[in-house]
Symmetry: D2
Subunit: 283 residues, 4 copies
């Protein structure tokens, strides 16, 4: 049993925190909007008025926030932590930011893992997230039992900063396979192939990303309730572009994908699931 | 047991024909270059000097040729066929061509299926091709036992012409997922993630097309011996572009993918496997 | 004074033919739709019922048709020409077609220039076209007085076929500068710069293609009556793509431009001037 | 005669400052690297050890720096300025930064114009720059005599921030016309048109940006000594991408152009003139 500090109780964080409690750990939590913490407090978590309050007596701290600025706004917890504590940032930030956070942690005498997740609301609730981790092996081993309470798999890809680096790559592949799939179906339809035959033949086959089968009900029903909103995918694609610029890597397919999703955003689909890109293209 | 005419004995056709013989059927075969027929003739096939010679007494005819012009060059068999025979064209042609072939067949009193295959040399040898078929249900049922001798799955996607329409879509998805994968790995490497960790995390996961795991030995060994040469993938991508133009469907991702593969072709990779695009991008 | 055969009396051809008559030459003309010839006949031209009729006694033949197939449909004039006559094809065709026409001419004992024009309806009427010519120097010199009756400049760029090769390049530059201009204005507007200031600062300046100033009244009035319809620009962009494929030259910017214009076509702008792409992008 | 503070004495700033002195004004100058100021000090300028030193008694301040961070590093001059002084930032920054600088100036009781320039080393030396200005009309009128000492034209495009907004648009048009030009020439060459004929026909014609004629000697000689280095063009293209992201405007052509220039950067052309992109593509 570990005493855990947890900051960030949105769609993802609240479900992850609940799974930690269910696994028998004690949690002190904080969130920018206090009201969102209510269900967790009933579930047994303790409330802290400030990020620093979360740090008191914590053996480990998790943060799960929407973007780098939000992480930066919570950094008050760092100086308040017991010496040499492990901070696990599950937020999807960008590589240069994560390296900076690792340095901040170190400057305060602590250790850092960036551990963004693959999976959305459903996987968070079911404890089936994949944690894509950058950091020292020993630190990842220390956090592993907690990762396992929240997820089904831990991928250790390198040192601090490389978790989000890999996440950035993964999100680009997610978006670009959606973009290609939608174009392919649009062409098939224009050639007279029924959409049903296109979905049946492509999805689950060797050339389609397996995650597409989880989106198939949306393609069929036209109900694109957000699991991962298109506006966040667009933001992540821009992070890919930023990262590629910093790294000096030409990424023409990624650059185009960002523009295509921006057109869908401009068409008003930002709050729907990112798979609504499909309807944007195929009608 | 069926008496089959088979025209086109290249890498794919020779293996498909051998599987038909192994399944107990008799074959009369023809090929532009007679020499390539030798192994099959030893295996029990009969040689015809002309396409028309293949037609004599055939209950069904298969063609497996490299491009539309090659199919057109073999059409001499059509007038020589017994009345109302089924012609199955397994060549990867383009939709408007396939519709024209269906009309040619009909004008000669015959029936037509376009049945391009998914899979390459290895699947052809193992009898594990997927036939993507356009044509009448009854005709596909008639050919089904033969498809099953050569493949593992028959996908019926619509009327004549729609098999190659679907194939065109599938090949685009194949190429575009390779292009995105290569860009993603290039970025990951530039960020310091070891290539091995990138392959391990991406391939087999939810965002990568499953066929990539079959290419993993190539990525690891650097040996890109052709299963499906890059120059043919480039040609197929151009067919996608042609088809999209005729259909009036904007396909920005497909258009970009064609250009990216053309750069790889220009760099001298045309005769290697199309997955050599990976080394072109990731170094 | 020359006796000229002229085939193709559309928007461009009829104006070009009229200028030849005005310069004192005699014309025998033919057009697929006979009715369109009426004004020219009143203006002094003689009608021929067939392409071959145009050839009788011609000292030189001009063709000005909409596409390669239309040129092919008129080839009946070739065998009927007096020996060693010069044929000037002003149609915008593609390089491989033009080289084939050169060979056809030669096989019939004649000479060939491809001389597509830069300029549209207004320049045709005013005799201000630019002729972009491929062919032998002596042949171009022979045609020069007639070019000068119809245009203001003759650019000799190489041997037969290179006129349309250059035209293909020029049309791509035309379209791509329109596409970039529209994107730039869209961004400027979103940043709050008044459209009027954008047009004033960009058009006529060092970074904007000079032809844009001729389109400025359209941008300002919103009246995009066709000088050069968007659907033809889209067709020409596809010809660029075809030509680049045949030549093995990667042209990512050209490939994207074709897709962007196709989206405008799909949005219903095909019959408006190609500069209507501007309103498609900037609202 | 005005007493002017001038910060930033690089390739551009040193030449602009010299022209101000030549026009009879007195200058106090500062530069991060003091050594670069030497020629100007001999020319009559006075040195200040700090940005704040420049502010003493200044009637107007010009800054000409390489990027936003450099501008930020010099802000020490703002609090030291006499009340209600005009600050003219000629640096090419980005719109959101320029708006922030306008707010900083205002918070210190001063006025702000963003006035990035069109033109490079040669135009700076000759006093032929174009100033693209955002700000209040009265402020631009106040600076006009000084602009005229350094340049040939003042374009007032809107309020503060819109000068760099327009500059961002202009630089995108600059790069995209270079990219299209290079692709067009590459195609023309592959079709057999001599490069010389391509340059002669395209440059100076209606479809080519007029600035290309200034680059023609580079295309002909192969000497791409930097006037505006490719690495800075790449940086500016990224600023376009950033700005388009913030503004929510899809810019597929701009996004592609950035990637194309990045490939040239990766190929080692960063320190050559941005027109070296031409040789990267045409060989």
């Amino acid at each position: 049993m570990t005493h855990i500090g947890f900051i960030g109780l949105g769609i993802m964080g609240s479900r992850m925190a609940a799974n930690l409690i269910d696994a028998g750990h004690t949690l002190t939590v904080h969130n920018r909007t206090a009201g969102k913490a209510a269900p967790l407090l009933e579930h047994g978590a303790q409330w802290a008025e400030t990020p620093a309050g979360v740090a008191q007596g914590a053996e480990i701290v998790f943060t799960m926030l929407a973007h780098p600025q939000a992480v930066e706004g919570m950094l008050g917890f760092l100086p308040a932590l017991p010496d040499n504590t492990l901070w696990v940032d599950c937020s999807t930030t960008n590589p240069s930011f994560a390296r900076r956070m690792a340095a901040e942690a170190s400057a305060n005498g602590h250790r850092f893992i960036d551990a963004p997740v693959a999976g959305s609301k459903k996987q968070a609730a079911a404890g089936e997230l994949v944690f894509i981790c950058g950091g020292a092996q020993a630190d990842i081993d220390e956090a592993r039992p907690l990762f396992e309470a929240m997820g089904s798999r831990v991928a250790h890809v390198g040192e601090a900063g490389m978790g989000v680096s890999m996440k950035v790559v993964v999100n680009f592949l997610l978006a670009s396979s959606m973009a290609a799939f939608a174009e392919g179906v649009a062409l098939g339809q224009a050639l007279g192939i029924p959409r049903e035959a296109l979905l049946r033949t492509i999805i689950g086959g060797p050339v389609a990303a397996p995650y597409l089968s989880g989106k198939q009900p949306k393609f069929e029903s036209g109900d694109y309730s957000a699991e991962f909103p298109l506006k966040w995918m667009h933001k992540d694609l821009h992070m890919v572009a930023e990262t590629a610029y910093e790294a000096g890597v030409p990424m023409p397919a990624a650059a185009l994908t960002e523009q295509l999703f921006r057109a869908a955003l401009q068409a008003g689909l930002g709050d729907e699931d990112f798979s609504a890109y499909f309807k944007h293209v195929t009608g």
